[in-house]
């Protein structure tokens, strides 16, 4: 048993933290959010070249630095602290993760593009009717010669406006909600018939509704087995959930720290409001939520390589705990900031908004509690 970070991992953290401190302060981020493109493509190149972090979690055979999920955790936590918008989760954790696990013939070349910063990926898995059932798909891929014809509508594809490619789940067989018949495709976003409607999200990001209108894709767009893609999707969504929870920990740290600082300097009734025990205990409870969230992120990340059931149980347990922490800490951060917490001007509200979206990402707390129960009581109940 070992809870220490390696020297390489600590270096990754320091590198990312110092870059963000210099170049991703709150006012810079505000400009990025308000810009036409909504992200900084030059920063993405800097992540690839100057920092080299886009390859941190890939093995050396795949052109990476030999790290893994722990590196994703570290990077996502730092991104959470700075509210980074650039598409690390979609591109590296999900896109790279899927290619890595799929054993696809061109996995290495796709990952090469990811590491170099030239390939950016968004994950088109959700559909308007499907909520958190990943197999509930109306999008279809029909055999057409050696390739496929893709039709359907994908909902709230986060980061799609920044993406060169989409990873798309589609039905190649079976009924609408069936586990079998789910296939995964890597789709060039510039193909004819890929129609996107782009929009901002409440937390400062960008997303798209994506419509596939008879999009013709080649045979090698299929990742993993035809019709047998669901386990792969579940594994990658668990990995993405763990990474997003690490981002949540970064957000929680800032919410907690910002609230402490504010309470120490804000004076009412002739003294700092941090002197009031009722607020001290509230802030202690926020601290406890934060500490437990750190612990659960470690647990979920460490268990990502265990059996499917153990992995899923750990991730869902972490999601329940951290989802609740994000709500509790976020709401109380705003409450303790009082009127100032309601303003767009302060960073605190932006952390609250990002935290709220992370809370629901890849399934609500209730969804994960039910999933945990299904796994934990399977035999008993």
């Amino acid at each position: 048993m070992d809870f220490n970070f390696t020297e390489e991992q600590s270096m990754v953290r320091d590198t990312v933290a110092s870059f963000l401190q210099d170049k991703y302060d709150f006012e810079t981020r505000r400009k990025i959010v308000g810009s036409d493109s909504g992200w900084r493509a030059d920063y993405w190149q800097a992540f690839a070249e100057e920092l080299g972090i886009l390859g941190a979690s890939f093995s050396e055979e795949l052109g990476g630095l030999g790290g893994g999920a722990i590196d994703n955790m570290i990077i996502m936590e730092e991104f959470g602290k700075a509210l980074v918008i650039e598409p690390y989760l979609g591109t590296v954790v999900i896109g790279g993760g899927l290619m890595k696990h799929s054993g696809h013939a061109s996995a290495a070349s796709v990952i090469e593009g990811i590491v170099a910063g030239t390939t950016t990926i968004a994950f088109a898995y959700a559909e308007p009717q499907g909520r958190y059932t990943w197999s509930d798909l109306k999008t279809t891929a029909k055999k057409d010669g050696s390739g496929w014809i893709l039709n359907g509508h994908k909902a709230v594809v986060v980061g799609a406006p920044f993406a060169s490619h989409l990873i798309v789940t589609a039905r190649t067989g079976g009924g609408q909600r069936e586990a079998s018949g789910v296939s995964v495709f890597l789709v060039d976003k510039t193909l004819p018939g890929v129609v996107t409607r782009d929009y901002p999200t409440v937390d400062g990001g960008r997303a798209s509704e994506v419509y596939f209108e008879n999009v013709s894709i080649p045979a090698d767009a299929l990742i993993g087995n035809e019709g047998g893609g669901l386990p792969l999707v579940e594994k990658v969504i668990d990995e993405a959930t763990a990474a997003s929870l690490a981002e949540g920990v970064g957000v929680l740290r800032k919410l907690h720290e910002g609230t402490l600082d504010y309470a120490k300097q804000r004076k009412q009734f002739g003294r700092a409001i941090a002197d009031f025990q009722v607020l001290q205990h509230r802030m202690v409870d926020m601290f406890i939520e934060l500490e437990q969230s750190v612990s659960m992120t470690y647990m979920a990340t460490i268990k990502l390589d265990e059996s499917d059931a153990e992995r899923a149980k750990a991730v869902s347990a972490a999601k329940v705990r951290i989802g609740r922490a994000l709500k509790f800490v976020g709401q109380n951060a705003i409450q303790i900031h009082g009127g100032m917490g309601m303003t767009d001007e302060l960073a605190i509200g932006h952390y609250f908004k990002r935290g709220t979206i992370i809370e629901g990402l890849f399934g609500s707390v209730d969804h994960h509690l039910r999933r945990y129960e299904g796994l934990s009581f399977g035999a008993a109940a």
Binding site: M1, Q280, H281, Q292, Y298, I302, R321, Y372, F377, A380
Partner: protein, 404 residues
């Protein structure tokens, strides 16, 4: 970062399992599982077995009689003893006064007190709380005045009252915080004294608690003569020992392994009991959800404790973060007892302690677990009160960690 046990750790786990299987009596295990009250001999027999093996004080340094285990081995030990429903080793000697003595005591004090503490020959009681000094412990009033005896030796004359003294009815010695300088600031006039409970002037009176148990006591100290060489550390520096001891007390207080076992037991109970619609209680969505939430919260506590242990292994002592473990650990312990009582349904109500009068109270009705469910639920309310109430723990975190 990984969770794997090394081959050596796995071999250690097998050794521990085998030892418990061979040496821990089944009768004691059953009574511990049911939450029965334990006699002095129940506690001592297991204590002695472990003392003979050299395993009774896992955290002690080897030179004072500890087994020299790594933090991972200690973790395995607590897991395995909880899994096997072992009677807990009482904390007062092993976790509390022992570490104070080997940290602050003189060579003579170590030699005199550590071996009988390990062997179980001395049953220690804790003389901290007073009627007027609970959460505000430093306001304690028991006073110790120095005088020279007829034998020209130096003594303290101790007068005052201690309370909530756990199992003092069996106590041989009591470690007490006493006021030696009434003029000093309240935390600066306190000393740490070891008092032989057979001394004239020591009286122990029972306090009966909600579950009907005689677990705690009042200890009256009336003109008790205590040799000065029974003081640990400097005069008026007792608060240093007290704070050290409280931090040690908190580090084991998470009770993760015991709570794991507690949830496992709730699951077994809920398999056997029926819900409103005649199905197993464990299929009841509301009950199942409560178990699931407990398991998840316990995982969060476990990994927080493991992080703390990793910090300790890296040289950080048990710090104020252990207050987090105390708060969450005790909340979980309490929730487990709530679920047991809920599972008992109608049979949570019957109360058999001392009934019938002829002593034939082999709890003839209801499921076995049920007759202790309510008393245990009542009793475990103590956990968020003792060892520094959970509100005091929040004060500690606010001050020491958050800098408020």
């Amino acid at each position: 970062m990984n969770l794997d046990f090394s081959p050596e750790d796995l071999a250690f786990r097998d050794e521990v399992r085998a030892f418990i299987a061979q040496n821990y009596p089944e009768g004691l295990r059953e009574r511990q599982e049911e939450g029965e009250e334990m006699s002095k001999e129940d506690f001592l027999s297991w204590h002695r077995t472990l003392a003979n093996k050299g395993w009774v004080a896992p955290a002690w340094p080897e030179k004072y009689g500890g087994p020299g285990w790594t933090s991972v081995q200690r973790y395995i030990w607590s897991e395995e003893t909880a899994r096997a429903d072992c009677v807990p080793i009482l904390p007062f000697g092993i976790n509390m006064v022992g570490p104070v003595i080997y940290t602050f005591g003189t060579p003579e004090q170590k030699e005199r007190f550590l071996p009988p503490t390990l062997s179980g020959e001395i049953w220690w009681s804790q003389g901290y709380s007073e009627p007027g000094a609970g959460s505000d412990l430093a306001s304690l009033k028991t006073k110790a005045e120095r005088f020279t005896g007829d034998d020209s030796k130096e003594y303290y004359l101790v007068n005052g009252q201690k309370t909530w003294t756990t199992l003092a009815q069996h106590g041989d010695w009591i470690f007490c915080l006493v006021r030696t300088d009434p003029a000093a600031k309240i935390q600066e006039g306190i000393s740490f004294l070891l008092i032989d409970m057979k001394s004239p002037g020591v009286t122990v009176r029972p306090i009966i608690t909600l579950g009907g148990e005689h677990e705690v006591n009042e200890v009256w100290l009336e003109n008790v003569k205590v040799p000065v060489e029974n003081r640990i550390f400097d005069e008026n520096k007792g608060w240093t020992c007290a704070k050290f001891l409280l931090a040690h007390e908190r580090s084991g207080i998470a009770g993760v392994a015991r709570s794991k076992r507690g949830i496992e037991r709730i699951r077994q109970i809920a398999q056997a009991e029926l819900s409103d619609d005649g199905d197993a209680l464990i299929k009841d969505p509301m009950f199942k959800r409560k178990i699931a939430e407990l398991e998840i919260d316990l995982a969060a506590l476990e990994y927080t404790e493991l992080r703390t242990l990793a910090g300790e292994a890296a040289g950080k002592g048990p710090g104020p973060e252990s207050s987090v473990l105390k708060i969450k650990g005790t909340e979980i312990q309490q929730r487990i007892t709530e679920l047991a009582l809920e599972a008992a349904g109608h049979y949570g109500a019957p109360y058999f302690r001392g009934f019938p009068k002829d002593g034939d109270n082999a709890h003839p009705i209801g499921p076995d677990f049920a007759h202790r469910a309510a008393p245990t639920y009542f009793n475990v309310r103590k956990t968020s009160i003792y060892g520094g109430s959970n509100e005091i723990q929040r004060n500690i975190i606010a001050k020491m960690v958050l800098g408020l």
